[in-house]
Subunit: 345 residues, 2 copies
């Protein structure tokens, strides 16, 4: 059976470099890594990972903990993480920890304590206080995707800014009666709160605070649909513009509007956040983010952190980009019952 | 530090039982497992998994290989698998192997050969011939979700039967011009072909073979939308009924119909397969399957197979259930251009 020295010799690199290239621990150039991997393949070299991890304390495995894999954003981040880990030759252990399940309790109580990973990536996790204690107790490098950009090791868009810009887009089109839809206790997530704050501050800055209104709903397409069917039916109070916590909620609102015979955008403008894979089909104006890139960036930050635990861990705030499609348009004051009931400014 | 004997003593069971309960290898009752886990928690007992796996050859880890995590069906199966594995105290290593990517090549060339799992679950994998060879070479117990129910260790609905029953539902409502939408080379999946076969045989049995028509599209919501916008625009050839390869394609078709001013179901009846989380919002008639249950069943079959590799491995065909919502209705011969062009039978 071939050993690491045979691989190194064939690839023309040092044993240490060959080991780094195959384990994903530490940096080697893409070219060198490819050369070493080719050599390993040619020699049928497969690292004995269990033995290796006992010797080095490294598992060549990264844990990913997230509250669901069925939401578009989370699944996209997961695929970005997987791509980057495959590229580094590292395994991915998934901890799908849906809030309120016994599975989540077991992950925090038992699974994480086994420390079968060199580092953790938490995606949209929103841990409770006791869960944060558990995460700290395992003492492994960790990076978060989604969260407070002021915390070290956090990758996210500026959610407050996204909520503000979505709102300003509608204000720029002449809308005043703009509602925010999404988020409800106890399912408030960090990013939805920030987007609501951005909406509130944009409304206040434009002198429209009196028109601000928050409609609660689950952050899902069916959640957005159910809440919208309810509040859009009230013609007298119906807003002309809708800022949605995310695209899934926005698409639910558009479907509800169609069912009620409300034209988008002439009766109702709708803007989301995400650029979901269905956004184009629904002609949805949105603040686009790139979840795959966020996942890949998380891996890069985590591997740097593992390689040099003493170096400071940066945070990365990625920009959200406004994509204007035809779900938003100028306000039509003449046909709006709510506008008829307010004095023009 | 507490050992396994301390845990066994506290739980009032044998060491072997305690070990089985904590490792997920072999069967113990849910009650006993809970008792042992409580004891382990009380004693702060955490198994040293690397050392344990060197001794026993068991990694306490199951590999899951699937072509995407962003499709609804696949993500739901994954959550079912995760729930069942958490319940057995087993880790889940994810191999997200999108067709045509270098990541997929690396999974088959390198990652699987490391054998860092006690068994594999392949979900909708559709392996190529060379990939099947790799899977056989790793010589680990394996279960498939989605596939030919004649193969041992396969869990699926009877896809041919689902396609047939969807078609018969429309025939029963008086439709004759019924098209099938979904599937295209080279992205044909096993289940889509079977559903098309079921559609074809139902059409033939009803004497409607001359009206059968297959419209190709990618098996996604945007794919169904794009293809539908194209073929629904041709009024003279527009069918009155549409059997869709899956709900995502069906929802895309419904959105396209709305955009073209085609009323569902009075002008066009649409039926899907899945019962996708959005099916209810779109009032979609569908053949429902339960992907989470399929994932959980896969884990049970795999663990039985690992515990007793010599026992025959069964296949499980789960029933699909017709859910009638308002996307299907009786055919309106008077208003259909295509019906006007054919003699009534």
């Amino acid at each position: 059976m071939s050993g690491i020295s045979d691989v190194a010799r064939l690839a023309g690199v040092s044993k240490a470099t060959a080991s780094r290239a195959l384990t994903g621990n530490g940096y080697v150039s893409a070219e060198t890594r490819a050369k070493v991997q080719d050599a390993a393949r040619a020699l049928d070299y497969v690292a004995s990972s269990n033995a290796a991890s006992l010797v080095t304390g490294r598992t060549r495995n990264i844990g990913v903990i997230m509250p669901s894999v069925t939401r578009w954003f989370l699944a996209e981040v997961l695929e970005g993480i997987q791509d980057a880990l495959l590229d580094h030759g590292l395994d991915l252990t998934l901890y799908d920890s849906r809030p309120g399940t016994t599975g989540r309790a077991r992950i925090f109580d038992d699974f994480l304590a086994r420390k079968r990973f060199d580092g953790l990536i938490a995606v949209g996790l929103e841990p409770q206080d006791n869960e944060i204690e558990r995460l700290q107790a395992i003492d492994r490098p960790m990076i978060s995707v989604v969260g407070d950009a002021n915390d070290p090791g956090t990758i996210s868009i500026d959610d407050r800014d996204a909520g503000r810009r979505a709102t300003e887009h509608l204000i720029g089109l002449g809308h005043r009666h703009i509602a925010f839809i999404g988020g409800t206790e106890p399912h408030w997530a960090h990013w939805d709160r920030r987007r609501l704050e951005g909406y509130m501050s944009a409304m206040a800055d434009a002198g429209l605070a009196e028109y601000a209104r928050h409609i609660e709903c689950d952050i899902t397409l069916p959640g957005g649909y159910a809440a919208s069917v309810d509040f859009l039916g009230d013609t007298k109070r119906r807003p002309t513009g809708l800022v949605c916590a995310c695209d899934e909620v926005a698409i639910g609102a558009i479907i509800a509007a169609r069912r009620l015979g409300i034209q988008v955008p002439s009766d109702l403008s709708v803007v989301g956040v995400d650029d979901h894979e269905f956004a184009d089909v629904f002609s949805l104006t949105t603040l686009a983010q790139l979840p795959r890139e966020q996942g890949m960036t998380a891996v890069e930050l985590l591997l740097r952190h593992i390689a040099d635990p003493s170096a400071p861990v940066p945070s990365v705030a990625l920009p959200a980009r406004l994509i204007v499609r035809s779900s938003t348009g100028p306000v039509d004051r003449a046909s709006s019952a709510i506008e008829a009931g307010t004095r023009p400014r």
